[in-house]
Amino acid sequence: MNLRNYEVLIVVITAIAALIVASPALQRLLVYPQTEYFTELWLLGPNHMAEDMPYNITKNVNYKIFLGVANQLGECAYYEVQAKFRNQNQSAPDTFNHTASSLAPLYTINTVVADKETWELPITFSFDYSYDSYSSQINFNSLTFNNAVLNLNGYSTSWDSGKNMFYGDLVFELWIYNGTIGSFQYHQRYVDLKFNMLP
């Protein structure tokens, strides 16, 4: 048997075997580095899909949604979701200027999410309010948020003739803990649900 005729085969088999044996080491070297760091924030409807979001709200009726956060920051993060409620005239988060609403949060949700992990919270909410037909205004009493009763005394919304609705906006702002400054800062993202409050 003339092994010289099999030189090429020997070289090829050696190269393949070397690559297979070296693959654990190559895995560490050939990892594609992460270049984009961000957080995802979303709201889903009661069927866990981006549809059937509550819009026409009846008082004291429960509505269900899902709030989710996914961490793509490359490290574990401590988030705070601030739930706020506003009418059409009150301060809203500004996407253009990347600023949060100046309203005080009604409820603060604390969550820690590991890198490349997802966190989701089912939310059941209902509004208690009264309708003042004389002033054509809805006066809120409370928001029940996952069995926690949030005080909405002083909150109201007037009839919006342009949009033909009693406007209500439930906002979820995402804040993130900054270890350098030792406090939370607005993470420049929010999701919200706009409602028509039925008298």
Partner: protein, 183 residues
């Protein structure tokens, strides 16, 4: 008898009214009422302050535990068990802060205490996960990285040796074949 009791009542009422409207009575009664209120108010403020410090302390503890989890994750540990605990404690803290904002200081304090208790032993647990991750990382480095590199080198050397042997044998066969036939 039935006439005497109403008269007695009426006379007592009149006496009380005279007392109340008596300026001297007002002069001494009002400061006493104020002093009673001042004695009661600090106790309410103390309860609020106590609750505030307990809630604050729970928040600070959550932050410290988050830092420990982050360190463990950076070492390569799987921190899903840690984040689960942090989120439970975070939920209690949220409820505590809500209760505090409503002025329900005793509930706020209770929930904040529960949050702190939930985080008991967390930092040592995070430390153990971190240490295990570092050990695993070292093991992975020596076995997977160094070991596989050396293994690949050995395979290449074996292949090279086989190639050299095949080369030598091939040359000998050629030489034998090239020798001229004896006349």
């Amino acid at each position: 008898m039935h006439v005497i009791i109403p008269r007695l009542f009426m006379s007592l009422s009149f006496t009380m009214c005279e007392l109340v409207l008596n300026k001297k009575f007002i002069k001494y009664a009002v400061p006493v009422v104020i002093l009673i209120l001042m004695a009661a108010l600090p106790s309410v403020l103390v309860v609020a302050q106590d609750s505030s410090s307990v809630v604050s302390s729970a928040r600070q503890q959550l932050i410290s535990c988050y830092d420990a989890a982050k360190t463990a994750e950076a070492a390569g540990a799987n921190i899903s068990s840690l984040t689960s605990v942090l989120n439970e404690a975070g939920s209690l803290l949220s409820q505590s802060e809500l209760a505090y904002s409503k002025g329900d200081f005793s509930t706020a304090q209770s929930l904040a205490t529960q949050s702190s208790q939930r985080l008991g032993g967390f930092i040592s647990m995070a430390g153990s996960l971190r240490d295990s991750a570092i050990q695993q990382s070292n093991y992975d480095f020596w076995i997977n990285t160094v070991g596989s590199s050396v293994g690949a080198l050995v395979v290449v050397l074996i292949g090279l040796q086989i190639w050299r042997v095949s080369n030598k044998r091939g040359t000998r066969v050629e030489v034998l074949n090239d020798e001229p036939a004896e006349l």
